[in-house]
Amino acid sequence: MSLKEAGLIYKTAREIRGPLIFVEGVRDVAYDEVVKVITPDGEEVLGSVLDVSKDYALIQVYGETSGMDLNVGVHFTGETMKIPVSDELIGRVFSGSFEPLDGMPRPLSTDERDIHGGVINPAARAVPSEFIQTGISAIDGMNSLVRGQKLPIFSESGLPHNQLAAQIARQATIPGREEEFAIVFAAMGIKHEEAEFFRREFERTGALSRSVMILNLADDPPIERLITPRIAQTVAEYLAFDLGMHILVILTDMTNYAEALRSISIAREEIPTRKGYPGYLYSDLATIYERAGRIKGKKGSITLMPILTMPGGDITHPVPDLTGYITEGQLILQRDLFLRGIYPPMNVLPSLSRLMKDGIGEGRTRKDHADVSNQLYMAYAEGTRARGLVRIVGVVGLSERERRYLEFADRFEREFVNQGYYENRTIEQTLDIAWNLLAMLPEDDLIRIREEYIKEFHPKYRRAG
């Protein structure tokens, strides 16, 4: 029997610095091994090994270290961090470190998975190409989501990103098929009422019975947030690639996650890059986000929707910036649209879905979809430019053309982007609204739409036909 199995507990902590504990005289400890830190009053807190040498180990603790002293006990478990997986996870609610919060017993399974997961071999990936109809025009029409995509919502505090995510979770469907998404929901540092909002929403729509919720709330230990999204992705991988389910993963709020990572980095005295974040923030975020996707020969899929709030609405802030470099696009919510009463307050111009091209067109949505979307972008950009001009020269200073585009932009926001929280539009409805708006413009201006599509879908010819 090895010392570990005997439950060896080291009492050799030499330093506690923020979330880090430095232990001396350790033997046979592995990098990344899970640690249990036992406080003088017998409480156990999880940690893992960040740096290990022949005779010391540096441990990051996922709970609170305040109140601990150098008399803590440290037990090395000999394992990297794993969670038990089975179909019984479905419908359950857990804490950010996978303790049951629903009063039910801990899940048991002989099948345990490392929460860091593996890397999907790029050669084994299937290209995501199934259009998901969310019923929201600004998404379906202009930034279409496909199964297996990772598409974040960039928002600001106070904006209705939770409602939008809940609406997507409620309405998302593959047209023509009656498969529903199961939801894995992970909260990092959000408020109780926000978590409660999601729980109620999922309960009301019946989604709760096919959801797994993993909650680290605002008053839970911040460092625990480092493992919460990884647990969520591990559950999602099991459900998707072992059980063949289609999973929508919602991670909110990734900014809180990144802040936890930053505090570890600062405690380790690493060289910071921008705003104190470590240089490996990009790679670290990638190890969470890149677990989404599809695998050839497997039925299930993981579609990922991280939500993050941009501090100060600044899209160049490291968290949204690096996220945007990893994810396949982004949906951007903006305060000025919100103040004008537009729901969802999505600014489509900086929003993007990179995988849209594979998911739309003939046989998927409609053949004119790509061109229409392209033309809407151009016209709306033109309109917002005119809107900027109005502030300086007034409406009277605009040319007739500019005035037309200004009106287009206003109507586009009110009629196309704006819709009800319970309004579920089909893709045909979305495209028809688009055509009605484009009909405001001279036909010669519709330069991004193929002529044959104009003849087929322009209201002018449709009415005649």
């Binding site: 046979d28 592995a30 990098y31 990344d32 740096d51 290990v52 022949k54 490392d114 860091h116 890397v119 999907i120 071999n121 790029p122 050669a123 084994a124 990936r125 290209v127 995509q149 690639f241 690493e270 060289i271 890059t273 921008r274 240089g279 490996y280 990009y282 790679s283 990638a286 190890t287 890149e290 996707g293 695998i295 050839k296 160049t316 490291p318 910036d321 690096l322 945007g324 470099y325 396949e328 982004q330 111009l349 900086p350 993007l352 990179r354 091209k357 594979d358 392209n374 972008y377 151009m378 950009a381 300086i392 020269v393 200073g397 605009l398 040319s399 500019e402 010669d444 330069i447 991004r448």
Partner: protein
């Protein structure tokens, strides 16, 4: 082979004590799993190892083994159309062996040891050969003829040469060298961090044609040159590089996905086999090698992936081919450098990057070039390197972008504003530049002697338009004189009718050279036809109403150049009609 013991593990950095002094750059097997690593720092028998695989679960006290060899690429038939990771393992094979998730400690020989290739000799017994000489060929894919070379540094007299089916390790002949008899094989090994030798560098003479108008006409890159494409996220770097990979008139494409998205690599692997090369009619995948080290793979292997890609390119160059390397993204590679430098506790320079960042960037781009290869017959090959840069916050003043600019000849500045209005490729025509205009002018003059003048004029109009727009932003377009409003109209026509190119439109995705010239000519012809009319007082609104404008802007979607000739006629006709209406002939 020197043995050692692990002392410390800190992420991808492993410190080990060896029995004897190893060499820096040596490849090491780390821990009981035998993970791959490379020695990056040495102090006597103590070495710092950069580990290419995840180190979770590894303990101090586990063994390390120095292989005595540097990180090297295996070169030979069997790489074309494959997808490799940063250390040249075939990801298709990895999938076969270990399932859809990458497993640690799996060793795969880069070149298939079982597969037999039909070797057709090109030398006879008794011939004297030197390094770089072609001893035979293998038809690797229907499109690609792999030329088997005498490895650099080897020379002698051919004593035996065989024809037939061989594996890459079997001898295809024998060479009598001053040192004795050596076997000739189809496989060679070359350390990735060392540039492959050549005889002489040559001046660049022709542009790399990409079928992308904004590149070919306005900001061309020469074969053997280097280009950088920086841009914030969503500005279209990846689509641009994929477009170039698809349509560039290079013989071989090496596509390096360095720290980027897995789905994008899957996209290439899925779609390239469906696409045909417009010049040869062959499937694009037959001339493409993919190195895919995606963002959630260990950061250290990212660093190696670029060197691997460039080494492969040089090897094909040595066979006399024009090779284009796409590296997406060099910023992720630089981050890998930064990560390792931080773990080694080096003093950082700008933004945490090590002080040697500029040297490393230069080291990569300098491997581009057009050269006379080794070998007794004169053979010319080239490597063009195109690197994407992902500046944080889209800020071009950050170190990777600024250092890159020093070492490249063409700069395609991607613009967020253009991307927002879905003006793709979102290459900003005012901020981009090309130092290969002279080379391009000579080449393009075969289509039109006035090419350089036309290009300069179009750029001038665009620049003038941007100045006028500045004014318009203050006083409104309506208040501008009609001559200036005409320039705005022409600029819009150049933008929409020429610069904007739809990568997903069946015709527009590729624009042949002749069409590019004629298209630009048509737009300028329109300007020359209506400019005198506006000067003589015909209102700009009437000019805007001319039907031919839409015709011109739609020309790019029409196949071939016949439609352009027809529209040229329409321009003259409609301009004359307008003039007659106002009596200003």
């Amino acid at each position: 082979m020197i043995r050692g013991v692990i002392e410390r593990i800190n992420g991808s950095l492993v410190i080990a004590q060896f029995e004897a002094e190893p060499k820096i750059g040596d490849l090491v097997e780390v821990g009981n799993l035998g993970l791959m690593g490379e020695i990056v720092r040495l102090s006597g028998e103590r070495a710092a190892i950069q580990c290419y695989e995840v180190t979770s679960g590894i303990k101090p006290g586990e063994p390390v083994l120095d292989t005595g060899r540097p990180l090297a690429a295996e070169l030979g038939p069997g790489l074309m159309g494959t997808i490799l990771d940063g250390v040249e393992r075939s990801e298709l094979k990895l999938w076969e062996i270990a399932g859809p998730f990458i497993t640690r400690g799996v060793r795969i020989a880069p070149l298939d040891r079982e597969k037999k290739w039909y070797f057709e000799p090109k030398v006879e017994v008794g011939a004297k050969v030197v390094g770089g000489d072609i001893i035979g060929v293998v038809q690797e894919t229907e499109y690609f003829q792999h030329r088997i070379l005498v490895p650099p540094g080897m020379e002698g007299k051919v004593t035996e040469i065989y024809e037939g089916e061989f594996t890459v390790e079997e001898p295809v002949g024998k060479l009598k060298t001053p040192e004795g008899e050596e076997e000739l094989k189809m496989m060679q090994v070359w350390p990735v961090r060392v540039p492959r030798p050549y005889k002489e560098r040559l001046p660049l003479v022709s542009p790399l044609l990409t079928g992308q108008r904004v590149i070919d006409t306005f900001f061309p890159v020469a074969k053997g040159g280097a280009a950088a494409i920086p841009g914030g996220f969503g500005t279209g770097k990846t689509v641009m590089l994929q477009q170039i990979s698809k349509w560039a008139d290079a013989d071989i494409i090496v596509l390096i996905g360095c720290g980027e998205r897995g789905n994008e690599m899957a996209d290439v692997v899925t779609h390239f086999p469906e696409l045909t090369d417009p010049r040869t009619g062959r499937k694009l995948i037959e001339r493409t090698v993919i190195v895919a080290n995606v963002s959630n793979m260990p950061i250290s292997a990212r660093e190696a992936s670029i060197y691997l890609g460039v080494t492969l390119a040089e090897y094909y160059r040595d066979q006399g081919y024009d090779v284009a390397v796409m590296a997406d993204s060099t910023s992720r590679w630089a981050e890998a450098l930064r990560d390792l430098s931080g773990r080694l506790e080096e003093i950082p320079a700008e933004r945490g990057f090590p002080a040697y960042l500029a040297d490393r960037i230069a080291g990569i781009y300098e491997r581009a070039g057009r050269v006379v290869t080794l070998g007794s017959e004169r053979r010319i090959g080239s490597v063009t390197i195109i690197g994407a840069v992902s500046p944080p916050g889209g800020d071009f003043s950050e170190p990777v972008t600024t250092h890159t600019l020093r070492f490249i000849g063409t700069f395609w500045a991607l613009d967020t504003e253009l991307a927002f209005r879905r003006h793709f490729p979102a290459i900003n025509w005012l901020r981009s530049f090309s130092r290969y205009i002279d080379v391009a002018s000579r080449w393009w003059s075969q289509y039109d002697a006035a090419w350089a003048a036309m290009r300069a004029r179009a750029l001038e109009l665009l620049e003038e338009a941007s100045e006028i727009e500045e004014t318009a932003r203050i006083i409104g377009e309506k208040a501008l004189p009609d001559e200036q409003r005409l320039i705005l109209l022409i600029a819009e026509m150049i933008r929409e009718g020429f610069l904007v190119q739809n990568a997903f439109h069946e015709v527009d995705t590729y624009c042949e050279a002749e069409k590019q010239v004629k298209l630009l000519k048509a737009i300028l012809r329109f300007y020359d036809s209506v400019e005198p009319l506006v000067r003589k007082g015909i209102p700009i609104e009437r000019v805007r109403e001319m039907r031919v404008i839409t015709e011109i802007m739609r020309l790019k979607e029409r196949r071939g150049v016949e439609a352009i000739e027809r529209v040229m006629g329409l321009i003259t006709e409609q301009a004359r009609a307008l003039a007659e209406e106002y009596g200003v002939i």
